[in-house]
């Protein structure tokens, strides 16, 4: 039975939770109270049909993207397609790699068109679209494991990022094999800052896939179809178990990811990236700007991915 979308204010009275099927958004706007109300109304209005729009084109969105295709029709689907296209000639990628970021962008845009906000974010399960007006900024904490509560003993905050109005970053995304989506790589988490959330989402997927040790006997991989029959990755093996690795192995795997991330940075597809694997963190950033500050030891009581 189709469960209708739910839209509700969180008990803090500030943030809105929008949920429909696999989509969960936490939305917060800052500014004049009347503008915030208007923005939330616009977000709620736009949200109602998003999942249905996507599902109409699901088969296409689950197939490999390539420049030859005409691409999908829906506005969110087009964002997804545009975000993965730069990678389409190099790796196997489907528009689904950017779905979370694209949904976040779409809702954020509905809000910023409807209202005048000083700041706003739409957090789609860790893939975040942000809006900043002049002289505003966001601080973002990075956790290595989206399912941190299943492993509370492991450190989770591995870095933080400051995003200012002047920066080109308006999207943040995290990918890793422990997350909700399958990964081909072994990174615990790759967090990417990019000009748009859908771009960040796609790039995080690609970089996380690249953090890898091909042929390592201890890493267990299972064809995606065997886990989820309709997954877009089909027969491609996805990472299920990563054993404790030796420091040299960790460095090797991270170096592969760093190489890919540097390339994307050079092309302007990402603004910065932080790669995390078994306690080690590598940051790929512009030399002059330290957008991401890595953190050696992480407190266990970290709360929230995006906050004021």
């Amino acid at each position: 039975m189709r469960q209708p979308p739910t839209i509700q204010m969180l008990p803090d009275g500030r943030r809105v939770h929008l949920h429909d099927g696999p989509i969960d958004l936490i939305v917060e706007a800052f500014g004049d109270p009347a503008e915030i109300r208007e923005a939330y109304r616009a977000a709620a209005n736009r949200f109602g049909s998003i999942l249905d729009e996507l599902c109409v084109e699901l088969p296409l969105l689950r197939s490999r993207a390539s420049r030859g295709n005409s691409g999908p029709d829906g506005p969110v689907a087009r964002r997804m397609y545009a975000a993965v296209l730069p990678f389409a000639s190099r790796v196997f990628i489907t528009p689904m790699a950017a779905v979370a970021g694209a949904v976040a962008e779409e809702i954020l845009e509905a809000m910023t068109h409807a209202a005048n906000l000083s700041r706003a974010y739409v957090n789609d399960g860790g893939d975040i679209a942000i809006h900043l007006s002049r002289s505003e900024h966001f601080s973002v904490g990075m956790v290595n494991n989206p399912e941190a509560s299943r492993r509370p003993e492991s450190p989770c905050l591995f870095g933080s990022a400051n995003i200012n109005f002047e920066d080109s970053t308006r999207g943040i995304a995290t990918s890793g094999w422990r997350g909700r989506s399958f990964s081909l790589g072994i990174a615990d988490a790759v967090t990417v800052l990019a000009p748009r959330a859908a771009m960040a989402d796609a790039a995080a997927t690609v970089i996380a896939n690249a953090v890898n040790l091909p042929g390592h006997p201890g890493i267990i991989r299972i064809p995606a179809r065997d886990l989820a029959p309709d997954n877009d990755l089909g027969q491609i093996p996805v990472t299920r178990v990563v054993p404790p690795l030796r420091p040299a192995e960790i460095a090797d795997a991270l170096a592969r990811g760093v190489q890919v991330a540097r390339g994307l940075l050079g092309e302007g597809l990402v603004c910065a990236a932080a790669l995390h694997l078994q306690g080690a963190t590598r940051v790929v950033d512009r030399p002059s700007r330290l957008a991401i500050a890595p953190r050696a030891e992480s407190p266990a009581n970290h709360r929230g991915l995006a906050h004021a």
Binding site: L10, D12, H17, L51, L58, A148, P229
Partner: protein, 488 residues
């Protein structure tokens, strides 16, 4: 497609889910071939009720703060706990905690209720449909109209005959209707030969598209009794129109005692006692739950022996929402006039004294069957322990009413339970949380699974838990369970 995978229809993604796996939302999963909801296991946190924000359930993965909560301040609910199958296996969680120096045990399980139903109380005088008439959702029969009670219309929905005794579609729609009502969502119901009403627990009902604002202050006779003194001297006659009991001031005991003069008014319907009339019209959705829009339709005339020219008559409904003022002309015919200012207050006073109209939903299920076997190897002892109030039963930490008599038949106000506490299985049946709390020594005495008792902090430490704050209006589930003498 994979033979053992099932199709989830909770959203249009329509995931194929393999056994032991979840769909793309992580909320629904395939548990032994059945689609079940797998939300985080909910833990009530008493400390959080003092103004601290709830832990938003979405952020559950990021909001763990590593803190261990000491015993009695935390109560493990059955929401998301799952269940065990077959029934004789111990319940998924049997939690010990210390309360005021006494070791307590809470047995936590999600029950699968294929006989369950809801009782819906709709605060309106409007006629929703005749008793016994079928209530439908999406065209399928899901229940029936039962006796109206004190200004509210009562519906009985669900139950085994609709869930499993009808067509497959009837069962599925019934299950969906119950699930939505129990989880506080709005549901549109239509009564055969009656009204269409949108019902949502804790919200005002919408009858035939009109939002009900107030429930009546009382029946027509009661309204006369309540306001007679305020009308006395300002008006000659008042008729409170009500489908159940229409009241007439001059004939009513309240008017008699005040010395209100006889007016000779003649009311249609069946006179019960002086000033109280039954069946003045047909039931409907207009004045006082009748089908009349013109109140004079219930007045057959005035006896010229008593009536007089200029006699002032107020007719008003039991909610004060409808009212009309008349004066008799020389032929003793009522002529409508504007309501004199001296009477507007008494009409608005009726409105003021009406409570907001709500729909309320009580979940009703039986825990006296096989579910007990997950609590104790000797199930009847659990029933007796509940009867004797040594064992406290809660649903998601909310208090329940245990119906007297055999079995453990419980009723719970769904608005007192945590959000989205209910799930379903496609058999079809509702999944509801249920917890049994009792002193550890009593649990041992009634044949409990002592080797499965685990301390509270082990639960909080090692698995995915959602902490929410306890509701201030609910008694703390661990605080008032009765401590017994050792059973002999």
């Amino acid at each position: 497609m994979a033979d053992d995978a099932i199709r989830c229809d909770a959203c249009p993604v329509l995931c194929y889910i393999k056994p032991g796996r979840t769909g793309s939302c992580d909320r629904y999963g395939n548990r032994r071939g059945q689609l079940v909801r797998l939300d985080a296991h909910v833990v009530l946190d008493r400390a959080l009720q003092h103004g601290e924000p709830l832990v938003p359930f979405l952020d559950r993965s990021r909001d763990w703060d590593g803190q261990l909560i000491s015993g009695a301040e935390t109560f493990v609910t059955a929401i998301g706990a799952g269940t065990t199958y077959p029934d004789y296996k111990p319940a998924p969680f049997i939690i010990s905690s210390e309360v005021a120096g006494v070791d307590m045990v809470t047995v936590v399980t999600e029950g699968i209720f294929s006989y369950c139903g809801v009782k819906v109380k709709i605060d309106t005088d409007r006629h929703l449909g005749a008793e016994e008439h079928i209530v439908r959702a999406q065209g399928e029969p899901v229940g029936h109209v039962t006796t109206s009670e004190y200004g509210s219309q009562m519906l009985s929905l669900g139950g085994v005959r609709h869930l499993t005794g009808g067509t497959k579609s009837e069962g599925a729609v019934t299950c969906e209707t119950l699930l939505n009502l129990c989880n506080g969502k709005a549901v549109e119901l239509s009564v055969d030969d009656g009204a269409t009403v949108i019902v949502q627990a804790g919200k005002s009902p919408i009858v035939n598209g009109a939002q009900e604002e107030r429930m009546r202050v009382g029946c027509g006779s009661a309204t006369i009794g309540m306001f007679a003194k305020q009308w006395f001297g300002k008006i000659d006659e008042v008729v409170v129109v009500d489908d159940h009991i229409t009241g007439v001031l001059s004939q009513h005991q309240a008017g008699k005692l005040l010395g209100v003069r006889e007016t000779g008014i003649k009311i249609k319907g069946r006179r019960s006692t002086p000033g109280r009339y039954f069946q003045v019209a047909e039931p409907g959705t207009s004045w006082g739950g009748t089908n009349i829009d013109n109140p004079l339709a219930i007045v057959s005339g005035f006896n010229p022996k008593f009536a007089w020219k200029g006699l002032r008559l107020l007719m008003v409904s039991t909610t004060g929402e409808q009212h009309a003022y008349f004066e008799l002309d020389e032929n003793l015919k009522p002529v409508e006039q504007n309501l004199p200012p001296s009477l507007t207050e008494s009409v608005s006073r009726i409105k003021e004294n009406c409570e907001p109209a709500l729909s309320t939903v009580l979940f009703m299920g039986g825990a006296g069957g096989s579910l007990r076997a997950g609590v104790t190897e000797n199930p009847v002892k659990l029933t007796r322990s509940v009867r004797e109030a040594f064992t406290r039963v809660t649903c998601g930490g909310a208090p329940v009413y245990v119906w007297p008599g055999g079995g453990i038949t419980i009723m719970v106000d769904v608005t007192r339970m945590p959000e989205n506490a209910f799930g379903y299985v496609p058999t079809p049946a509702l999944v509801a949380p249920i917890e049994f709390t009792l002193p550890l020594k009593d649990y041992s005495a009634l044949g409990g699974y002592m080797d499965h008792v685990r301390p509270l902090d082990s639960i909080l430490r090692d698995e995915n838990r959602q902490r929410i704050s306890a509701r201030a209006e609910n008694p703390w589930p661990l605080s008032t369970a009765r401590i017994s003498e050792p059973p002999k």
